[in-house]
């Protein structure tokens, strides 16, 4: 049903009535695992009338329901879009292979869980990519929906396939599958896109799909990959990325919501029936982070810091608990202990909810005494089980390279305080494969862990304490100072991890008190190729998907060999994309996408990293001109407001 040359009047652009596919799905559900994840019906979910709305979004988190449902980004957009009177939003998730096979056999299309409408009937399919490992799941969804995989093959009856989320800051590897991508905070731009679509539809869809995409592109706030051409040097490097038609801007900018107090979402949190990975009500207490950890893409692309005020946080928590019935509240952000009034927030909430069996959690891995005070506040009545700290690098030198300003002394002092205050378990988080890393840096992790146990035994006077070391593989990411770095090959990473494991095992005094968790280095290579890939990686993704790749974020589904075979088939040299260090002037695939960071500042920071130079946090020291605020017209928004949380009126 692609467009057929002849012109259709606005009135005649009718579609088949959109019916629920549920009766057909229902017959398949007794045959699959955890059928509840496909039926919807969650508390606070919304089903709007199809015919009285004119812009319709299918929002997809391209992973299993249990991971996708708690995702804040999708939940917020779902609520905001459904609040618009003539706009409708429903959710869709990746279906597991057991249901996929049945759907293919029975001809049941990809559906939304809200009203079980076929995804192809919507105006927009908006995908939120937290990681690149969801790309293959997108292809499954498109294929099941009956939407052509390639944007170029889509017609008037297909939705606009639009990507957002952190991975969308380099959407080039999936450029040929996407009609559009959006960078940054979604709240305002989703509303703006809805308006553009509404206008275009009410005018009778002039100029068809291309004109709609053109209208979106012109604003400079939506990236339309097909309006840009990429030229290459003979050696494979990118020569230039340029718009291929007039009025398409050279660069596309990210979106930043200022004043989070004006956007207090979620107001009506989705409460799943199925078990999900986070069973709690989450409030983002601020966005952005300017600590300047050089490996952290999230910190770089979400600048500057914008806090939600203590009063709004308090109101959101009260409302969220009431609306959901959750008994756990998470105060989310990239480093929650950094909120300017977190001490008051913690104390105020702990007071308000004392005795109500409501637990509070705060993801923070800051290595300092204050962080323990917060944890103590949040565990007033509960058990002091585990605390997590993230020194990230095993040696002082390496921590300078990544700009994680934690000394060994800081760490020992902090864990000593934790153990002496009754905490029994400390978790330490590190990375392996960091730029300039040596074998000694990684072995330094073992030394640190042993010192931690030694200090803990002395402080607690007990041998019944534990320390768990968790190691993640480092992947260089776009829009960070490490975007030029050569990624460590997986042999090196595996060798270092093996040596570290041996060092733990061989130690009689400490080995039983130390737990060690790590993954092998191969998945990081695939992630690295996708993170810093260009449009030529699209063929690899397509090949691997055709070969059966699904759910690549799940170790039981991921196959490194399958990815390597797909790359070989596409003629892609994986090393060139991963372990190769880039030169200053090489055009990077995402250079035309503007996260606000000044490229020269990033390069300088990369040079300083190699020399062990540190940067401070611009919240508490003068601005060092990373570029974000002037380019984006934003500013740091932090407290303190001096306000306090009052006791709840009804408890």
């Amino acid at each position: 049903m692609t467009s057929t040359g002849h012109v259709m009047g606005p009135a005649s652009v009718g579609r088949m009535p959109v019916e629920s596919i549920f009766p057909r799905l229902e017959a398949l559900l007794p045959k699959v695992q955890k059928p509840i994840q496909y039926v919807g019906g969650e508390l606070n979910s919304t089903v709007k009338d199809w015919d009285t709305t004119d812009v319709r979004w299918a929002l997809m988190y391209p992973d299993a329901y249990e991971v996708g449902l708690p995702n804040q980004g999708v939940a917020i957009l779902y609520e905001i879009l459904n609040e618009l009177p003539a706009t409708l939003a429903e959710r869709t998730y990746a279906v597991w292979p057991d249901l996929e096979a049945l759907m293919r056999a029975e001809g049941v299309p990809q559906f939304t869980v809200d009203a079980h409408r076929p995804v192809r009937a919507f105006d927009v399919l908006g995908l939120s990519f937290s990681t690149e490992l969801g790309y293959t799941n997108m292809l499954t969804a498109l294929d099941l929906a009956g939407i052509p995989l390639l944007a170029a093959d889509r017609g008037e009856d297909d939705p606009i396939v639009l990507a957002g989320g952190h991975a969308a800051f380099n959407p080039e590897p999936v450029a040929e599958f996407l009609d559009a991508a959006v960078l940054g905070d979604g709240e305002q731009i989703a509303i703006a896109i809805s308006e553009v679509i509404r206008e275009w539809k009410s005018e009778g869809k002039p100029g068809g799909r291309d004109e709609l995409l053109m209208r979106l592109a012109e604003s400079g706030g939506v990236y339309i990959p097909k309006f840009y051409d990429v030229d290459y040097h003979p050696d494979g490097r990118i020569k230039r990325v340029a718009p291929n038609r007039a009025d398409v801007p050279w660069r596309v900018h990210k979106h930043t919501v200022m004043d989070l107090d004006e956007w207090p979402y979620p107001k009506k949190p989705l409460v799943p029936l199925a078990e999900t990975v986070h069973e709690r009500f989450s409030v983002e207490i601020f966005r952005g982070c300017t600590r300047g950890c050089r490996f952290c893409q999230a910190g770089m692309i979400t600048r500057p810091v914008r806090e939600r005020s203590i009063t709004t946080i308090g109101a959101m928590v009260e409302n969220g608990i009431k609306e959901s019935g959750f008994n756990e509240v998470g105060l989310l952000s990239l480093s929650s202990a950094d909120h300017s009034e977190i001490g008051e927030v913690a104390k105020g909430l702990a007071d308000q909810y004392e005795g109500t069996n409501t637990s509070l959690s705060l993801p923070s891995t800051r290595v300092d005494a204050f962080n323990i005070d917060l944890a103590n506040e949040f565990s007033r009545n509960g058990r002091r089980s585990g605390l997590t700290f993230a020194p990230e690098g095993g040696s002082e030198r390496l921590r300078k390279v990544i700009n994680k300003m934690v000394t060994e002394e800081d760490l020992i002092r902090t864990v000593t305080a934790a153990y002496s205050q009754g905490w029994r378990q400390v978790k330490l988080y590190f990375m392996c494969g960091l730029p300039t890393e040596t074998d000694e840096d990684v072995l330094g992790i073992a030394d640190l862990a042993k010192k931690v146990i030694k200090a803990g035994r002395e402080a607690s006077g007990s041998r019944d304490i534990r320390c768990t070391v968790s190691i993640g593989g480092f992947v260089p990411k776009p829009h960070t100072p490490f975007q030029w770095a050569g990624q460590a090959d997986h042999e090196t990473v595996d060798r270092r991890l093996k040596a570290l494991r041996e060092s733990f095992r061989s130690d009689r005094e400490y080995s039983r008190a130390i737990g060690f968790r790590y993954h092998d280095g191969k998945p990081s290579i695939v992630e690295g190729m996708l993170s810093r890939g260009d449009r030529r990686i699209g063929a690899v993704i397509r090949n691997v998907w055709e070969d059966g790749a699904r759910f690549d974020g799940w170790s039981e589904h991921f196959s490194y060999e399958r990815w390597m075979a797909a790359a070989a088939k596409a003629g892609v040299d994986v090393d060139w994309y991963t372990v190769r260090e880039r030169e200053e002037n090489e055009v990077l695939p995402w250079d035309h996408l503007d996260a606000g960071l000044d490229r020269e500042w990033l390069w300088q920071d990369w040079q300083e990293a190699v020399n062990g130079g540190e940067v401070e946090d611009c919240r508490w020291t003068p601005c060092y001109d990373c570029g974000v605020c002037p380019t984006m017209g934003t500013e740091i928004q932090i407290g303190p407001t001096g306000k306090k949380l009052l006791p709840l009126t009804v408890v």
């Binding site: 007794p30 029936l273 009431k322």
Partner: protein, 258 residues
């Protein structure tokens, strides 16, 4: 501590909830509804909510039961309204009474089930049911947690019919207009191991080679004690209503069906 006995239904697409899904949903609903639920003591306190033998995942039910312990006395009718309003549609609270003496589980002696068989042949079903009822025992096998187990599916079945022209209970399972289906009704005694409707279907296949073409849609219609004189199922909460009505002057106990 006052204890409240709750009868609830799991309907439509929410019949795919597992027992764990339901218990999470109920705990949250109790909190949303501000019901003063009692908690167990200890490091990880649990709300005092207990469940009587839940219908399996995928099976709808009009008669599931749970019991809530509360710290301050509550009006059962108010709890019924509040709890129902706090649960997602499809998990519907039908009745709440204050618990009288005696364990609820002891009163749940039998279940009445309805099984809808889409596109099945009614004559074959009738023959199969006749053969099944005529048999002294019907050994079936089911995969349990500890492996396959053989047991008799016949003795527990007190009644098994194929009502003519029955439409089935509204809103319980997928009901597509114009689709022909055969309905089985059965009253089954609770025993160990439990004989479930699918065991009876297995039995029908064994005695008469009767096999429905698509997965059956099963609904539990009622649970309760068996009235020996009439052979009918009684409402297990009636006993509680009688005690509380006689025992105290409070408003609890007025009960409207419906």
């Amino acid at each position: 501590m006052q204890r409240l006995r709750v009868r609830y239904a799991k309907r439509g697409r929410l019949r795919f909830t597992s027992h764990r899904d339901i218990s999470r949903a109920v705990e949250r609903a109790v909190r949303r509804a501000d019901i003063p639920v009692a908690y167990s003591a200890g490091f990880s306190p649990h709300p005092k909510i207990s469940y009587a033998g839940a219908a399996p995942t995928g099976v709808a039910s009009e008669a599931e039961y749970l019991e809530i312990g509360v710290t301050t006395p509550c009006d059962p009718q108010q709890v019924r309204t509040d709890l129902d309003g706090s649960l997602p549609p499809g998990l519907d609270v039908l009745d709440v009474v204050e618990a009288g003496p005696g364990a609820l589980a002891d009163r749940l002696e039998v279940s009445e089930w309805e099984v809808r068989l889409r596109d099945a042949d009614r004559d074959l079903a009738v023959t199969a049911v006749e053969k099944f009822l005529a048999a002294g025992t019907v050994e079936v096998e089911r995969l349990m947690k500890k492996g396959p187990r053989r047991f008799d599916a016949r003795e527990a079945v007190l009644r098994l019919t194929v009502p003519e022209g029955a439409e089935g209970t509204e809103g319980t399972a997928a009901q597509v207009a114009g689709q022909s289906c055969v309905i089985l009704r059965m009253v089954v005694r609770h025993m160990t191991p439990a004989v479930r409707p699918d065991d009876v279907l297995t039995g029908l296949r064994l005695v008469a080679d009767f096999a429905p073409p698509v997965p059956p849609e099963v609904t539990r219609l009622a649970q309760g004690p068996l009235d020996d004189s009439t052979g009918a199922l009684a409402d297990p909460l009636d006993l509680d209503r009688e005690t509380t009505r006689g025992g105290e002057a409070g408003p609890a106990g007025e009960h409207d069906v419906g």
